[in-house]
């Protein structure tokens, strides 16, 4: 029994690591050694705690005090004051907008308190490198129950009854997918975990892989048992090296404890999992492209049917599930389908992990019951706009999705309601935009992504999206016409109907959805050569107000391209042919003399 009296859980998710977690941890370790506290203070690095905008983060137990925005200096102070003397360091507590400090942020803040954590139940609470901590929180009990008490058909029945739907975007009923694969003919079958999370704005799979890798392993073993497979692959994108490392450690541990390998838990079920790495291709998230990639080929999709359930990896029946979907399976087995159904909505039971990004105060991950309204998600939990300007729209579903304007924020978030609005749930990424974001620019951005990532196999996607992008570039550079808007719609519809795979079929969505709700912005671009959000460079000019300029030359000095001319104490002017619209001059002018205008 350890003598530890204090445990520090420090968030070591990808985002916090990028914000300097390592140096904070090292400072903690140094100070703890300095004061001889090694035996009584234990540091545990966990997966993502979800509150990315507050990172680096740590929670000190047993009091459960939440410290945020840490630096090595902060770490030193906390060791000296809190660990040594029991005095909470107010400076690094979470502060409400009123200024009030909240030590037990994890219990009190809506960001944490309103969450119902199923897929992310362990992320941020356990050391992902320690299988026993996973077991302490009921890890591998689902697999044991399945092997001891359930037949494969019973497992499938339970998953079907739960109503779990694919969390990767399509929302296909998971139980049905498993059933179809079980029924398919073939003596070799595979389970594949799609960990190629590529949607811009989505990072929930990353968090689960880094913070709770065992849940994926356990779920895959359960799936293998259900469908009759002996081999599983986890296909991880190469941009997630930490996830790959943690999975490798977890697989080794699971093998050591006998949860993977031959005759698991003394039964005659054997199952092995291997990792396959991607190499920078978004399209490999599409299941047939993923299969091609595993088989060592170009990640180009093929026509479906046949679906992977019939013919997948090496032509064998294969179940392909998303990380988050899999993470929901062990709790469903342990607590039952009825429990899962009691959360969420009748057609979309359970919870969903949303990744809040863009111009929102609380960027990060939240897991909430399906059916919550966008308003609650973005304002109560997300903390509203981070810029002080009104939230204009939220983009959901990544490059396959659409924009939802603020007028519709009372819509509940579930598969069907979002589809009606011309968007999709997708993987759950929510990118928040404010008045300074131009919707035409946003659509162009997504299309640039799709053009870049198109595999090139089918003409509608390869050529069609490129043509759409050209039109959008015309529009944002001030040369668009009304006919261009009609052409965008026409092209968009054709591409949706004729593309080979999901990437092409949904590529026009951001354009079509912004045309639907923000046609007036498009029209301003083409009719008046005006960008209402003052974003599109070609349509915006920077001007100096002669009545306010005092000739301090601050702007001229900071301009990276020497576009500003003027003598000391004389009114300055900006040459818009040279200006790159970087905004540095506006930032530095103390007299508010510079503004953006359009046209």
């Amino acid at each position: 029994m350890p003598l530890t009296t204090s445990t520090i859980l420090i968030c070591a998710g990808g985002a916090c690591i990028s914000s300097g977690e390592t140096s904070v941890k090292e400072a903690l370790q140094r100070e703890i050694r300095k004061y001889g506290l090694e035996e009584v203070v234990r540091i545990v690095e966990t997966g993502c705690m979800g509150a990315c905008s507050l990172g680096p983060i740590m929670v000190v137990y047993p009091e459960g005090v939440f410290y945020q925005k840490l630096t090595p200096q902060a770490a030193e102070k906390i060791v000296q004051e809190h660990l040594l003397k029991g005095r909470i360091v107010q400076e690094y507590l979470y502060k409400m907008p009123t200024g009030e400090a909240v030590p037990e942020a994890m219990d009190k803040l809506p960001f944490f308190a309103k969450q119902v954590k199923i897929a992310t139940r362990n992320v941020g609470y356990i050391d992902p490198g320690n299988i026993e901590e996973y077991i302490a929180r009921d890890g591998y009990f689902a697999l044991t129950k399945v092997l001891n008490e359930m037949t494969p058909d019973q497992v499938i029945e339970e998953v079907k009854r739960s109503g779990l739907r694919g969390r990767g975007g399509a929302g296909f009923p998971t139980g049905l997918k498993w059933e179809l694969t079980r029924k398919a003919k073939g003596d070799r079958k595979y389970v594949v975990c799609n960990a190629d999370e590529g949607d811009p704005g989505a990072f929930m799979d990353r968090s689960v892989l880094e913070g709770d890798p065992h849940t994926v392993l356990e779920a895959m073993a359960i799936a293998g048992y259900a469908i009759g497979a002996q081999q599983g692959y986890i296909y991880v994108r190469a941009e997630y090296p930490l996830a790959i490392e943690r999975l490798q450690i977890a697989i080794a541990q699971a093998k050591e404890y006998g949860f993977l390998g031959q005759n698991i838990l003394g039964s005659d079920f054997s199952f092995d999992i291997e990792i396959r790495i991607g190499a920078g291709a978004f399209v490999c998230g599409e299941e047939t492209a993923l299969i091609a990639s595993i088989e060592g080929r170009r990640g180009q999709p093929r026509v479906k049917p046949p679906y992977p359930a019939q013919s997948g990896v090496w032509g064998c029946p294969t179940v392909i599930n998303n990380v988050e979907t899999l993470a929901c399976v062990p709790p469903i087995i342990i607590k039952g389908a009825d429990w899962f159904r009691s959360i969420g909505t009748p057609t979309s039971p359970g919870t969903k992990v949303f990744a809040l990004a863009g111009k929102i105060t609380n960027t990060g991950l939240v897991e909430v019951p399906m059916g919550i309204t966008l308003r609650e998600l973005l304002y109560e939990i997300g903390g509203g706009s981070s810029t002080g300007k009104k939230i204009k729209a939220v983009q959901t579903g990544g490059p396959s999705g659409g924009c939802i304007p603020s007028e519709y924020f009372d819509t509940p978030v579930d598969y069907e309601s979002l589809q009606k609005l011309g968007a999709i749930m997708g993987s759950g990424g929510m990118i928040v935009m404010d008045e300074d974001d131009c919707m035409v620019d946003v659509a162009k951005f997504f299309l640039e992504f799709t053009v870049d990532e198109s595999c090139g196999k089918c003409t509608p996607c390869r050529e069609g999206t490129r043509q759409m992008l050209k039109i959008l570039e015309k529009i944002t550079s001030g040369e668009g016409t009304e006919e261009d808007l009609d052409e965008l719609e026409r092209l968009g519809t054709i591409i949706k109907d004729t593309s080979l795979c999901g990437l092409g079929q949904t590529a026009p969505n951001p354009v079509l959805s912004t045309l639907r709700y923000y046609r007036h912005e498009y029209e301003a671009h083409v009719k008046e050569k005006k960008c209402p959000a003052l974003r599109c460079k070609a349509l915006v000019r920077y001007v100096i107000d002669p009545s306010k300029c005092v000739g301090c030359t601050a702007c001229a000095r900071v301009c990276p391209v020497n576009a500003i001319s003027g003598e000391l104490r004389k009114v300055h002017s900006i040459d818009n042919d040279v200006c790159i619209r970087c905004g540095s001059c506006i930032e530095v002018c103390r007299f508010g003399a510079i503004s953006k205008v359009s046209p």
Binding site: G14, P200, E239, G299, A357, C582
Partner: protein, 162 residues
């Protein structure tokens, strides 16, 4: 010159871990790329084809399809900057400009001293701390133009040492 035997040995080791030989191709290419410092010489790719019993054209297909592989030598540090929407709306545009200016190169170009190659990348999944760059295996988030310059300076100071 490419040490063919060393590459062949690497591939044989990787094969031992695989169920099917062919499904280790991408894993193998990653390891080889790390060994040669951010790129895969065509010679090495040929060895891979031999060892895995796969047509050279197939290996070449894969090599040229995936954006993380390169047959051209790249800098010691490959700086991949995310150019997708979440980074874009949180100031990504400035980060891209700062990088280009500070390094003196455009996308897919390497600096004269062979230290840095600048590349675009799609979303890295760190949107909570956007804007973000990935330098080889390491990530830097919550970027500002100032931080970007500091990161480049510290990498320059590391220089050729590792």
């Amino acid at each position: 010159m490419v040490d063919r035997e060393a590459v062949a040995e690497m591939v044989r080791n990787i094969k031992k871990q695989a169920l099917e030989e062919r499904d280790m191709l991408i894993n193998a290419l990653h390891q080889i790329q790390n060994r040669f410092g951010n790129y895969i010489p065509v010679e090495a790719a040929k060895v891979v084809a031999e060892e895995l019993n796969v047509a050279e054209s197939k290996v070449y297909e894969v090599l040229t399809f995936y954006t993380m592989f390169s047959t051209k030598p790249r800098g010691k540090y490959v700086i991949r900057v995310c150019v997708n929407l979440p980074c874009h709306v949180t100031g990504g545009r400035q980060i891209v400009e700062t990088l280009k200016e500070a390094l003196g190169v455009d996308f897919d170009q390497t600096t004269k001293d062979g230290l840095f190659t600048l590349e675009r990348t799609s979303c890295l999944g760190l949107c909570g701390v956007a804007p973000v760059v990935m330098v080889n295996d390491e990530y830097y988030g919550d970027l500002t133009p100032k931080k970007v310059k500091e990161i480049i300076e510290s990498l320059r100071a590391r220089g050729d040492a590792k």
